[in-house]
Symmetry: C2
Subunit: 506 residues, 2 copies
């Protein structure tokens, strides 16, 4: 028997069995695709869209008359106005005939017209032609100028890849760095689920490092070291460290000392530092400022500045501009070998080029009107108005959460999110478990069902086992904000009452 079976096996190796067709089904597609999760657009978001359709069709019977999308950092969907100068230039690039119209000087300030001319004169074929795969040269030059001014250190435009939002940079880096399941990426927990999703999609392993809620969501090097040592001693390879600064969903802003420690750790462990810096203009806390990892790295001396590979990512979707829908962003590569840069150029070229309007918008954001320019006064007023309002909303949201029973909430130092911690009654944990869900999923789903407020459960970002959180944006307009926080508070009270009651009261 054994002998005959071994022979059959050998036969198999020599001439494999003919494969029968496998029709396309969820069982026959790539299992990494099936396994990847992306909570920001998951079940709760999908249900909120159905509610919106119901409201639009005028159907009665819902306990709310408006859906508040606090699940995604998408400011303009909630009524935030775009920055006039950016849109003026973009509309002229879209339809250059406008510049020739006699009314042009009445509609547009001269610096908007001049900027549009400068771009159209230097982008071969304008917004309707494929640009170079890394982005049009003039636009990369403008972005490089903005980076150099921000940091006080030069930026070579050839090290910039303009992208459709910041996400493609994450896709490119994960695809390029990950070779197999043994390859790990160190990711903060909680994290923005783009990282967990792309790591899974490209077949690698997420190696978590927990941010310490009690210490303003900072990371400690001792814990990072432990994670890397354990992984490497198990035969795994650690390839990169993801840092999101300002934090998403956690809202902290790193200080110089902390950033230095992280850079030193990357040097020691030969990791690529993936710096997600898309909230760099969203700083609210007194005494905090955004420091790019590029700047910190450049000022740590040649032992570091010439050695630690850094990917610094930015986006047009966040900040005071919030131009999510046009998809623009960039990443800058520092200390990457030329042959790896060549590979990343090729990867970008397989998608041809990022959309040119998004590229223009990125260049405008990194090179906005300067004092003395005709558009500067309005630009500064719009920018400051949005940032000051976001600061007020951040404080209101935090104060509200802190006033709720069983809720604690760190300061929103930056970014667009609050990430309060919930202490929920055991009955709620049990009720959720009966549905196969964590308690914060139940909380967020009931919040949506009862108030129309859309949030994301902490479990979608990862959290310390046994803790529960909710991520909410601070983006509803100030006119709506009082109502949103009131509805949220009322819901919370009823949720707590109900599940305490179900437990027999306490």
């Amino acid at each position: 028997m054994l002998h005959s079976s071994a022979s059959a096996e050998q036969l198999c190796l020599a001439s494999p069995v003919r494969r029968e067709p496998e029709p396309v089904s969820v069982k026959t597609i790539n299992h990494d695709v099936v396994a990847a999760e992306y909570a920001v657009r998951g079940a709760i978001a999908i249900k909120s869209t159905a509610y919106q359709e119901q409201l639009k069709e005028g159907k009665d019977g819902l306990p709310f008359d408006k859906v508040y999308q606090c699940n995604i950092g998408n400011p303009q969907i909630l009524g935030q106005k775009p920055i006039s100068f950016f849109r003026q230039v973009l509309s002229l690039c879209e339809y250059p005939e406008l510049m020739e119209h006699p009314a042009a000087a009445d509609i547009y300030p001269p610096d908007a017209i001049a900027r549009a001319k400068e771009y159209l004169d230097n982008i071969p074929g304008g917004v309707g032609a494929y640009s170079e795969s890394k982005g049009a040269v003039i636009l990369r030059q403008h972005v490089a100028k903005g980076i150099a001014e921000r940091d006080g250190h030069p930026c070579n435009f050839e090290d910039l890849w303009l992208t459709d939002g910041a996400s493609p940079g994450v896709h490119y880096m994960m695809k390029t760095l990950l070779r197999n399941e043994q390859d790990c990426i160190l990711c903060p927990i909680p994290q923005y689920p783009l990282y967990s999703a792309t790591i899974k999609l490209y077949g690698g392993t997420l190696l978590p490092y927990f941010l310490e809620e009690g210490r303003d969501w900072q990371a400690t090097v001792a814990h990072l070291q432990e994670q890397v040592d354990t992984a490497r001693s198990q035969g795994k390879q650690v390839r990169a460290l993801v840092v999101i600064n300002p934090g998403n969903p956690t809202g902290q802003v790193l200080d110089w000392e902390n950033q230095e420690l992280l850079i030193k750790f990357c040097k020691q462990e030969q990791l690529v530092l993936l710096a997600d810096e898309v909230y760099q203009t969203n700083i609210y806390a007194a005494g905090r400022e955004f420091l790019s990892f590029k700047k910190v790295l450049m000022e740590m001396g040649p032992e570091y500045s010439g050695h630690v590979p850094l990917v610094s990512m930015n986006s047009i979707s966040k900040g005071y501009f919030g131009e999510c829908g046009r998809r623009g962003g960039y990443f800058e590569l520092v200390n990457f070998p030329q042959d790896v840069k060549d590979q990343l150029y090729k990867v970008a070229s397989i998608s041809l080029c990022p959309n040119v309007s998004g590229q223009i918008c990125m260049a405008l954001i990194m090179n906005p009107p300067q004092p003395g320019d005709p558009s500067h006064e309005l630009f500064a007023k719009e920018r400051d108005g949005i940032l000051e309002s976001l600061k007020r909303r951040a404080e209101l949201v935090v104060d509200t959460f802190r006033s709720m029973e069983g809720v604690s909430c760190n300061e929103v130092e930056g970014s667009m999110y609050a990430f309060p911690r919930l202490t929920v009654p055991p009955a709620a944990v049990k009720a959720a478990a009966n549905q196969g869900k964590p308690a914060d999923f139940l909380y967020c789903m009931e919040l949506l069902d009862q108030t129309g407020i859309v949030t994301v459960p902490g479990s979608g970002f990862g959290q310390e086992p046994g803790t529960f959180h909710v991520r909410t944006t601070i983006l509803p307009p100030e006119a709506d904000m009082a109502q949103v926080v009131q509805k949220f508070s009322e819901f919370h009270e009823s949720f707590m009452r109900r599940y305490k009651g179900e437990n027999g009261g306490s």
Copy 2:
């Protein structure tokens, strides 16, 4: 010895050796990334960019004063004007304040204003907000309407994914269908290298099927059958059939009978049909028309219409519009199980959403001004002017190639490319081999060096072994076209003379 070695192995399995750090280098990144090739933006394209920079800086010493980019289907970079109506609507969506300006009625036709209003009223947050991951509902509805009118069969907008160009659809499908190297995708040879690049990138295997040059680049089912049988008998799985119609780089337009045969083959072998239909409005040959695979499938009876999974892709980058730089496209899924559609929704959501301007442009193209609309006359004039000119240029290019020594060229029935076959002197084959290159690479590189004309060697698309081709677009403006074909002819003559001479003459 043997025993001791076996013990060591067992020990290894129990406690793996600690991994040492591997700094990022071309040797330590994903090998599929390194192995992927994308000739359209390869060495010749990169050199042409350097020449352009030289010319721009006014440097002398080049034997040409202009670079002719005939390597990419990028019409606007060569001066093709965008369609006015599309740009009018786009500029209004970009800067809605324009609609309120007293000069608006003087600048814009009323249907452009009405269309922009319709879109802005129905896209929450306008072009600056993330849309749904598959695209804004109103825009998918307009695309669905256009598809239904084109085919005479209904289209459900929920089966549409709007995308940044057609490429993301190819990425999504390859990522989802390919599980490992045993999984194959049937690809035409010659093929557009997006397919070979993405199949390699996502770890699968390209299973070639050769188009028959002597039969107008049609595929034969007998050959397809042979390829599938061989692959399956070797234990490989064949998952999908790629068909590019009209052909790229080959320019043929399939007829009904041929399309039916391909659909029947997909049904029999349980393959997904990946239909690249981005050149659907680029038809030049008398008696030829574009038939979508959706239409043919729907008219083959319920045995087929309800069973063959079809992905039909389209783009705003080609046709008479050529809006490459704004990146817009869609794919329609037919006969896909709902759970696989859910997975593809999730994959799209990991990139958040396609850019909204590109989505709008796709909707405009599929739902353009109709007879009687204020913009229709100009729209039709612009569209027909471009298509008629492309037809003239297609004929001129083919005639030119046919007049050259040792060159044959099929008719350009559709798309934007001619793909002539070169019979090159043995000395040229040898000279190329000495550089480790195929002869058509040498030919195209010398063509660029001597004339400034940028083309892509046939080897970048794949071709029957021992044959050589060049792909050139038919896109230079008619004013330049006489000069381009003359330079090309002169180069060809000198190339042939030189390499025959080197061979001792014949």
